[in-house]
Amino acid sequence: MAYRLGIDIGGTFTDATLINEKTGATRIAKVSSTPGDPSVAFLRVSERILREADVPAQEVRYVVHGTTVATNAIIEGKIARTGFVTTDGFRDMLEIARQIRPSLYDLQFEKPKPLVPRYLSFGVPERLDARGSVLTELDVNAMREVAVRLRAEKVEAVAVCFLHAYLNPAHEKIAGEILTEVFPEAVVSLSSEVAPEIREYTRASTTIINVSLRPLVGRYLQNIEDRLRAAGVQAELLVMQSSGGVFTFAAASEKPVFIVESGPAAGVIAATYLGSALERKNILSFDMGGTTAKAGMVQDGSPRVTKDYEVGAAARAGHGSGKGSGYPIRTPVIDLVEIGAGGGSIAWVDSGGALRVGPHSAGADPGPVCYGKGGTEPTISDANLVLGRINPKFFLGGEIELDIAKSRQAIKEKCADKLGMDVVTAANGIIEIANAARVNALRLVSVQRGYDPREFTLIAFGGAGPLHANRIAAEMQVPTTLIPMSPGIFSALGLLVTDLKHDYATTMIRRVDALDTREIQEAFEKMSREGHAMLLREGVAENDVQFSRQVEMRYVGQSYELALALPNHELAIDEIAGLLDQFHRAHERAYGFSAPTEPTEFVNLRLTAMGKISKPELHELKNMNPDASLARKEARQVYFAEANGYVDCAIYDRYKLGAGARVQGPAVVEEFDSTVVIHPEYHADVDRYGNLLIERD
């Protein structure tokens, strides 16, 4: 037998998921995280799940790790002491950053503190022009002096980013060699290798984040590897990337900037996998837990990735306020819009008499009022409880008994009385307002990018996602909502169903009307060779290597590109016309206009090298009885605004629903880690894998 083991380390818990490659059967385990040394919990949960499943360590083929170690290191300032080398005259690139304030009207704002202090930033005489030609040769003596200084300053890591080096890496290469020679203990990253793309500040920032994480991430992964090997695990060890692919521990240690959003990517990957297995290629993913909700989009079977990302930024929406509050990176990150509207988000009434939800959260401690752990501020979970949607006696399968009286009291005092409305109306309002924020997040990832949500399936998961999904889908006019089995641990599945992946990019700004297709082909081939070699080193069989090419295009003069797929061969002349046509149409969709007479240009060539890993089969239900009434366990009063009040609502046990069963709304379907609410005039069908598909009657 062969197994895959996924380990996801979060702030509170470390989760393990074990999947049987053949049957698709999964098992989960949870232990408390050990922030002092995360590898302790890693080993503990691995041992536990293998023991419980009675699986010998040797039978694990892949271990895939989702981790926040990189992000946390940046946020907590635990990165390596790093030096920065750039072109003379530009050492303040990091100090100046984008020269903006992260919030418009805040007189007390702060700029993010540079990751390298000014006294460890050095300018060296050298200069390239905007075509990559040398204007001034690198002053190797000056470079040598800088290397000596950095060594004396006892830095652990050095980032090199010269102007226009994305076009010509020669000077950076020499600088790297000098550093290695003078200062062999230091780890060095060159911008031309980490992120060879135009715009010096973002490229430098990406390079610095990469190199400053390398010592820490390298040690961290090595430690895990040593312990796993000692425990008899011979599996390939992989890490989830921010873009949703996985790569080896060795690759992650070299390029840790690729794993800054390792954790959140998994949920979208799981949704992609499930969607593909069910022939649903266009998906909106909605992941709601205790503190946040995250919206993502999958189009044609591929999750959307962004390259406009700031680590440690205040807002995640990618626009508007919050820009300039973090550190930009130019490596691909799964495009998620995150909003502070999880189950623990607090409801309040502002000074203008409006009901508000979030952004403050009661978190896990004290948590919602109903937990009885000292929380006094009403939360979304409290509102759900008052409305009858959560079963007070079956929360986490009955592990915690919820106090509905306390929830009512808190909503009354903190919201209803102030608004002059009754408790139930206020509770419903809390839910509606939180839903509106989530709808906005989903709109940001779909409509705003020119996609019609009516062509998508909403896959909702996380402990709280299925409570709200039906209502959100109705508002978005999404025709089908899919709730997978065990939504609370669905994300972790993403760790186990992704391919080995390496992303490469080359900036090659060329007008389309004067394209040298040979030159383009050569650039792609160079990236392919690199990816190919990498995958073979990682143990991927020749037959499982796949490449996909993309070009980012724009009208000459624009700065934002649209990505289009390219064939895996040298472009033929007649294909260019088709490509242009695609570009104009994509532009029309995104911005409402196209300008077919305007010149266009290629900007970045992107290549993804993938090592296909066989996907586990979906686990089929054994219960084939379509009679839903067999799963009905009780009835409860549940509030629905569309029914103008509480209705006698059937409650179902999800584990007893057979394939083909139909649950007619209004209804609530309960399972260990989540609750599914089906609204009046909607129904849910159980498919043969146990998924609930909610649609309008």
Partner: protein, 644 residues
Amino acid sequence: MMGGEGRTTKDERQRTNGKGRTIIENRKSKFENRNSKFEIRKSAISNQQSPIPNLPMDPILFQVLASALVEATEEMAIALKRSAYSTNIKTRHDFSCAFFDRALRTVAQASGQPVHLGSLSESVPRVVRMYGPENLGAGDGILFNDPYMGGVHLNDITLISPVYADDVLIGYVANLAHHVDVGGGAPGSIGAFREVFQEGVIVPGVKLVKQGKLDDDIFRLVLAQIRSKRETAGDFRAQVSANITGIKRIGALAERYGVDVLNTFIEELLAYTERRTRAEFYRLPHGVYRAEGVVDNDGYAGEPVQLKAQVTIDADGILFDLTGSDPQRRAPVNSTYSQTFSACAYVCKSLIDPDIPVNSGFYKLVKMIAPLGTVTNCTPPSAVVGGWETHSRLCEVILRALAEAIPGRVPAGSKGMMAQVAFGGVDPRDGEMYAYYEALAGGYGGRRSKDGPDAVQTHSQNTENAPIEESERGYPIRIPRYELVDDSDGAGKFRGGLGLRRDYHFPDHDASFSILSDRDKWGPHGLFGGRSGKKAHYILIRDGEEISLGSKTTVQLKAGDTVSFQSCGGGGYGDPLERDPQMVLNDVRDHKVSVERARDEYGVVVDTANWVVNEIETERLRASITIKSGYAAGMETRIHANHA
């Protein structure tokens, strides 16, 4: 929330300092306050038991629509940025988007440039009324930049489009973008002009977009006045795209919820915003506060441009009286009513809860007296291109007036100038005209508990820098240097931020180069004993020789010339002798403050061999120095007096 009825305000306060510059007058407004406050409460509360005013509208739908409308304007902003051509719009985000209702009140706006947002609330209503709402059909778009019809400087061009749902007018979307060139006397349309007709093409509100199509005649006519035709044409299309996006989104909302509901919501939103804003104003210390300041010069006369502000805060809102500011000049520093208004609106917004939305419910409480014919409200044909300098300095003067009244909230003097650079010529690479524009950052003022950030945009301006690689690629120039200006901080317990330096080199062609800036005579003021920031420098480097340029000038460059733009540092806050020596040490180590200034201005002796503070020497030195700080000299409100 608002204070209870029994709460008394301190109606009578006198906080004069030694020089009597900042004066808080007696107010006999106790009963007025109470009465007007009662009015607010009565109108706002529908439920007698309720301690907080209720929204007559369903509070849930209210919140849903509030976020949806702001989101719609944000989507406009994204469409504009992503499809624009000029670095100034696509990368530097020098634009703003907003939605207005049928009655032409500002309802929602994207987080853009505060400088634009306040002015749009003035200009859009005037232009639509002038053109006649009845003459605007679905798919039409009015193009506009006339400073004397509510506009600002000519570069800021606004496109206004009506939003209809089933033939019913819902309102208007508008976006304003700073175009890199609008013709006129110098590339980038920035320069020391004497009247508005030298500044470029004036668009009085014409229908550029007719039923969704660009009017080719008008488009060609406008473009014919402009140097960077291709780029600007692309930017205009991006502006059209932004409005299309806004119309779609808001139209969909109207369809989803019904026009009546949307209209009711708008009324409620404005009332809600007004209520919350009033509550905030009520909490500010009521009184009358004054300050003065100057723009260094007007570009022609050496005489500084005097600005005066008297700020009255009471329960009715805030009144800015700018009476006493200098008469308008035959020079570029004249500010239009809209430009001046946006300075006042910016300061108000920065003093209240940032959570309060910005719309007409807020703007209507910002009252301003700006006498006609002065630099704060100029008449035709005054040049207005440098009106932003006056606007920026007004932000400083107003904040200065409030510094003692609202202790801890107001920073020391900041960059407080637009710091604009524009240049152009014929690009030797393709023989076409080009124009370039950007605005540079400077030091921010120190705050009560923290330093002023280095190299950052200040007040109503928040545009990004242009990446060097993008600038060198797109334009035939080279940027040899982009760095902080060491020792430009105003010393203080919390120091001002450093200014920055950006050099522009023209390797192979002659060009015209304009600076529209200020602060090369006096740096930003310090507060409570903090020193002023170091002044700005504008230098032409020709054949190895450095020639000082004025702050408002256009020069003809020869191939091989370099212009070095060095902005000012921010003012310090509090006595520099009270600065934590460790912070001084860090600054010395970072080369931000020299060893000499650490000793002379901060009284800190740094041991650079071991990078530690020599504590004994420092204590002795600090005890022996009596620095004549700005604080000791009295809280000077005449900003330049700090430098006299």
